[in-house]
């Protein structure tokens, strides 16, 4: 049974592997067998890069560092200690993985272009070091007497088979990844790190895992590649050409797809090799083509051929695209029949009279250089309270919000969650202990469906699949978005996206829900809808803190109102009392409001 499902799930890679072996066995020509080996090698390199560059979305421009390390470590072991490459192979892989760990730990704290720039330097450093250490032009010690022991075959087909096997294993592994929860972690990290942190994902760790695995595979491939090349130079192993090619084959075929790199390799490598053969006197022809390919791909098919083919929508091409992408497409989810009527989270209990302090802010201050955004702000948030924090624009609301949710560190003061000091806790850690937030400018995971977005809210914290599914549907019903479950998030209207964020925050049954300007941009009926949803959650026992500037609306719905202006707390109490204090009126409302109400 397990074997049957294994064969079914991995039909594509297994079929392609069988075909590959069949074709390779017929290739007696040196050039063709070498081409097959190179295609398989670059496909493997691309697949390993795809993990960090495609799935995790971090543009690594230094992949060559790990390929080269793998090759050179095994080579050095062989040259200096006579250790056969098969034994050097695990050592090399481990070294590459450790190197990725060493550079990944600090570098993955950077994002976007800073990360890309930093990764650029690593292979350059290694290239210079290895040249300096005398590996200018290294020859693998020849052992023609035992080709199998020393991985030295004259017949390139053996290399092709090894590379091909690694590629197939990578492909199967990637398919397995796509079916796992980790895939969603990676997608969340790739699409929006802030939102990923807010749902409890340790983004740095996720990126690090992808980085280390991708490096290990690259190192593994590097060992065999060096053996095949026989003459190894720092430029062929660490050169920018290697990193670029990893990028090109993945980009062309399909970034973030299991078979994307393979498709890209099948297209680009034969062309590059043909050019090298044709214009062997003129170096650079292949790189020139890669440059053109990069530009064409980025402008026309930025997600690669597989996405582009899917878009074409012709029935057969779609199937082909689906075949290469693996058996996992986006599943269409169906709401369970029973949950339809249940709009409240179960266990609605009356609010107890004696409520403990859930979150305590003590003299929180934040300065940016000379500007004091928040000055000695203190607040006790009790369990089951519904608090509104209001203030004019520029009052320090966003700063306060970021401080409470861990997105910024205060310059002074304390923050205690259930008595525990949580200053310096990264947002994901706060999210994991029950604090969830929404964003002022909503951050949905645009390319995922509404269902998947909400599911990501609970992916950390709800281990059981069935329980997670139930929680997602409950949440979707609570915000009345259940009928849109299969729509992609970026097809939703603005108020719906806001509700989606609320649903995502609610899935993990947070003890503390913080909403950042949830009313902005909503028309009155949408505001009422949101308020109803929040009231229901409150009845069910949640503690809600709402930050906004629409003071009149907030005053009508919350039980306690806190007013800040110019970084200072100027009012804290029942709404109708607070809105009457002179300071608040002067700072915020103006005397006209008071008159208008009477």
């Amino acid at each position: 049974m397990a074997v049957r499902s294994f064969l079914r799930d991995n039909a594509a890679p297994l079929v392609v592997y069988a075909l590959f072996l069949l074709i390779v066995s017929q290739l007696t020509d040196f050039y063709l067998s070498r081409l097959a080996a190179l295609v398989a090698f670059w496909a493997g390199i691309g697949m390993s890069w795809n993990l960090i560059g495609g799935y995790a979305g971090q543009l690594s421009l230094g992949h060559a560092a790990f390929v080269g390390l793998g090759g050179y470590v095994a080579l050095a072991l062989q040259q200096s200690f006579g250790i056969a490459p098969w034994f050097g192979l695990p050592v090399s892989t481990a070294v590459a993985a450790l190197a990725a760990l060493a550079v990944g730990v600090p570098t993955l704290r950077l994002s976007g272009i800073y990360f890309a720039l930093a990764t650029l330097a690593y292979p350059l450093i290694l290239q210079l070091l290895f040249t300096y250490w005398g590996y200018q032009e290294a020859l693998i010690p020849a052992h023609p007497e035992s080709p199998f022991l020393y991985m030295q075959w004259r017949d390139n087909r053996w290399y092709a088979v090894i590379f091909g096997t690694i590629v197939v294993l990578c492909w199967i592994g990637t398919l397995k990844l796509e079916r796992s929860r980790l895939r969603y972690h990676l997608t969340a990290v790739r699409d929006d790190e802030a939102a990923a942190s807010a749902v409890g994902i340790n983004t740095w760790l996720v990126k690090l895992q992808a980085f280390v695995v991708s490096a290990a595979i690259a190192g593994l491939l590097g060992v065999v590649y060096a053996q095949m090349l026989f003459v190894v130079t720092p430029d062929t192993m660490f050169g920018i050409g290697v990193s670029v090619q990893a990028l090109v084959v993945t980009l062309v075929g399909g970034i973030g797809h299991p078979a994307g790199p393979l498709l890209g390799t099948l297209i680009t490598v034969p062309i590059a090799q043909a050019l090298e053969a044709q214009f062997s006197s003129i170096s650079g022809a292949a790189q020139l083509v890669y440059g053109v390919v990069l530009i064409v791909v980025i402008l026309l098919i930025p997600r690669g051929l597989i996405e582009a083919l899917r878009g074409v929508n012709a029935a057969s091409l779609k199937r082909l695209g689906g075949f290469f992408a693996g058996s996992v497409g986006r599943e269409i989810v169906v709401p369970p029949a029973t949950a339809a009527a249940n709009r409240t989270a179960p266990g609605a209990a009356p609010v107890p009279a004696n409520r403990g302090v859930l979150l305590r802010a003590e003299n929180l201050s934040k300065r940016y250089g000379g500007v004091v955004a928040l000055k000695s702000f203190s607040l006790d948030v009790r369990e089951h309270e519904f608090i509104g924090i209001v203030g004019p624009n520029g009052a320090g609301k966003t700063t306060l919000f970021d401080l409470l949710t861990g997105f910024q560190r205060p310059s002074a003061g304390r923050l205690l969650l259930r008595g525990e000091d949580v200053i310096g806790w990264p947002p994901y850690r706060l999210a994991r202990v029950g604090m969830r937030r929404t964003f002022q400018i909503p951050r949905p995971f645009g390319r995922l469906s509404v269902y998947e977005n909400v599911m990501l809210g609970g992916i950390i914290g709800v281990a059981d699949e069935g329980a997670l599914r139930e929680a997602v549907w409950t949440s979707l019903h609570a915000v009345e978005l259940a009928h849109l479950a299969n729509r992609t998030a970026d097809s939703l209207g603005p108020s719906q996206i806001r509700l989606l964020e609320v649903a995502r925050a609610l899935v993990a049954r947070p003890t503390l829900l913080l909403l950042d300007e949830p009313l902005a941009g909503l028309d009155p009926s949408e505001v009422n809808e949101l308020i109803e949803i929040l009231q229901r959650q409150r009845t069910a026992g949640a503690t809600i803190v709402l930050v906004d500037h629409a003071i009149n609306t907030v005053a009508k719905i919350v039980e306690r109102m806190v007013v800040i202006d110019n970084g200072l707390l100027i009012g804290d109490g029942q709404p109708h009392e607070v809105t009457r204090t002179p300071q608040v009126i002067e700072a915020y409302l103006g005397s006209k409001w008071d008159h208008a109400l009477h």
């Binding site: 570098t107 704290r109 330097a121 990069l294």
Partner: protein
């Protein structure tokens, strides 16, 4: 190691720094206004070097005289690339922009390689091997002239950015593109002008350098990390910072030559580059806190 050797290294580093400043200022200007990392910056320098080489050989003109025309010419190429390619990338997709300029860099490098071959070409003028010897130091004339010319150009750039309407509009765009658009600045035009100036400065720098550094298609690879380091040190987007960073990098490169063997000189720079990114990515004068 004598004191003279140290002073010599300092002098050499400062002279180089002047030219690096042109390259860095261009790159950081492009980043500040467009938020694009122009991977092809060093290739524009390479194009300037070759243009200067061919023109000065054909017309028997001093490269220093050709600096401005070649700079403008390279700037026009940059204009074409900005309008034709960069503006087609969806705004805000930084990875895509980076990859695009990487592609441009590869094309320029290898087009030159295919068309011109790998042999380096240097322009030898009367001052290429002449030296000025104050206080026991040897100051190469070619490097000195290049540095002085660079400082003039940097001065002109400063005046442009602070005294002209376009310059101020560019700085406004760099500071806040949305507001700049809101007050009537044509942001797209600013992008294109910034890229034109940035690439033009690189071409200009190449013209100044060809009298003491040989033009070769792949020469850009030696410079790209140097320029990146300079602008990251000074804070991405800050022209003043890039200038400062350029001099620091020149000094570090030169002084490390005293202590380290030739092959390892650049290792210092690359390690410094990574270190700055990891420790203080906003640089010394960084005004972008975004990491």
């Amino acid at each position: 190691m004598s004191l003279t050797a140290i002073f010599q290294a300092i002098a050499g580093g400062l002279l180089l720094g002047g030219v690096y400043a042109l390259l860095g200022a261009g790159l950081t200007l492009i980043f500040g206004v467009m938020r694009v990392i122009n991977f092809a910056q060093a290739e524009f320098m390479m194009l300037g070097m070759f243009a200067a080489y061919f023109l000065s050989t054909a017309l028997n003109l001093d490269p220093l005289l050709l600096a401005l025309p070649v700079g403008i010419g390279i700037g026009l190429i940059g204009l074409g690339i900005a309008r034709g390619l960069l503006e087609r990338v969806p705004r805000g997709d930084h990875n895509a922009q980076l990859i695009l300029t990487l592609g441009v860099s590869l094309i320029l490098q290898n087009l030159a390689l295919v068309a011109l071959g790998p042999t380096p070409r240097v322009v030898v003028r009367s001052y290429t091997n002449a030296y000025w010897s104050p206080v026991g130091l040897f100051i190469n004339h070619a490097r000195l002239y290049a540095c002085i010319a660079s400082l003039f150009i940097m001065g002109a750039l400063y005046l442009f950015l602070t005294r002209t309407w376009t310059g101020r509009a560019m700085r406004a765009t760099a500071d806040d593109p949305l507001s700049a658009g809101g007050v009537g600045i044509n942001v797209r035009r600013m992008h294109v002008i910034a890229f034109m100036i940035g690439s033009g400065l690189a071409g200009l720098a190449g013209t100044l350098m060809v009298t003491f550094i040989a033009a070769a298609p792949l020469i850009g690879n030696d410079f790209i990390v140097i320029i990146f380091l300079a602008i990251v040190l000074g804070g991405l987007g800050s022209v003043a910072g890039a200038t400062f960073g350029a001099f620091v990098v020149g000094l570090v490169q030169s002084l490390s030559g005293l202590l380290l063997p030739l092959q390892l000189q650049n290792v210092t720079l690359f390690v410094a580059f990574v270190a700055i990114l990891l420790v203080r990515p906003q640089g010394l004068f960084g005004f972008r806190q975004r990491v």
